[in-house]
Subunit: 158 residues, 3 copies
């Protein structure tokens, strides 16, 4: 794969990831990760100062699956929906077997009443594994949120 | 065309589509569709339940042109402007002559007073016709809005 | 470079540009421009009527560097952060040495209190120089803002 194709594959991965979350298909979410993986949500301040303080931390696909089950139990009634708008993946370093990318995102929330609000924005710092030709999965995703206050963080993964 | 090129063509189609709408050049809008085409605006709830309830429905390029003329008569003075932010087209199924894609969008509205508001968000479910090499047009666009309340829907197509 | 690769390069340029601004690394900003360059911020109304009225105007990389220094002196404490969401570059005209593109953007602002607001939206009208194979820089960027009121324009470049 040349860089253009690689970028396309990663953008498609992000598009599928977003669709699963926005359609409420949370059970699909762990499938975008490698078996050996890490997922973390932090904020800009903590990240800039190298602080570990993560709002969410999961290591290994099993923990992602557990997290989805916990979200399912907690959210009996979904009164709102989400829409991810994900930017172009910026390729930082590309190897044969792994790529580091940085991708901005913005999540809009729509309440049943019709009101919109910005739910979250930030950047995905990813290590993307190239499993086999034309197939990519997330080995690590660090979600760096612009805001330090994310009230309803439990509603969906970011 | 390989998948990367195809995706590029579809993204360019969406970019032109958005520019025509955001620049108020509504008369260009039907040109992005095939002669035999369908355009429909619905919402997430109706779509999820398979309900036909469409806010807007047009079949054939003639109806799209009629719709633009009706919008021109209704909107004498445009007090606001729109900005589409369209995501990466997710390629669902690609044939030689037609591609199915799913593409998230977000429309921001700016009032003359300078105030911004989210106008609409959702997903385009498209059947894209590959007319001839490197040329794509919309055969069907179903606009699934996240919100069930779209007050000022008549202002522009989505 | 074919058009797909060219589009990829320009999208990567925009992604790096956005990251520098959103991470507060303003000193990197002039590096995305050619030595002989122009940067201008105007609004939709002025642009549509061919009026020169620019909110910001800089000619040559030296003026961009000056502008960053002025911003550094003015903004002692940064109470907010920004997130650019940049759309797909629409290729208008591609030559061997220069490309004209049009790219929508949206900037979300996050206050330290956690509140989000739309800061700006509009379109970049660019002349992109192809310096050498696979390397692109901005020769001219005209930022056409949707709103005529941009209060805190001095905070960051757009």
């Amino acid at each position: 794969m040349d860089e253009t194709q690689l970028n396309f594959r990663i953008a498609q991965l992000n598009a599928r990831y977003a669709r699963s979350l926005d359609n409420g298909l949370l059970e699909e979410w762990p499938e975008y990760f490698s078996d050996t993986c890490a997922y973390r949500i932090t904020n800009r301040d903590n990240h800039a100062h190298g602080l570990p303080g993560s709002l969410v931390y999961a290591k290994g696909k099993g923990m992602l699956i557990d997290r989805v089950q916990a979200l399912r139990r907690a959210n009996i009634y979904e009164a709102q929906s989400y829409r991810h708008v994900i930017g172009v993946p910026l390729i930082e370093a590309a190897g044969d077997e792994e790529v580091r990318t940085e991708t901005p995102f913005f999540v809009l929330r729509t309440m049943r009443t019709g009101e919109f609000s910005a739910f979250a924005s930030g950047v995905y710092l990813d290590r993307v594994a190239i499993d086999r030709p034309h197939h990519v999965r997330l080995r690590e995703r660090v979600v760096v949120c612009d805001s330090s206050r994310i009230d309803t963080l439990l509603a969906i993964p970011l």
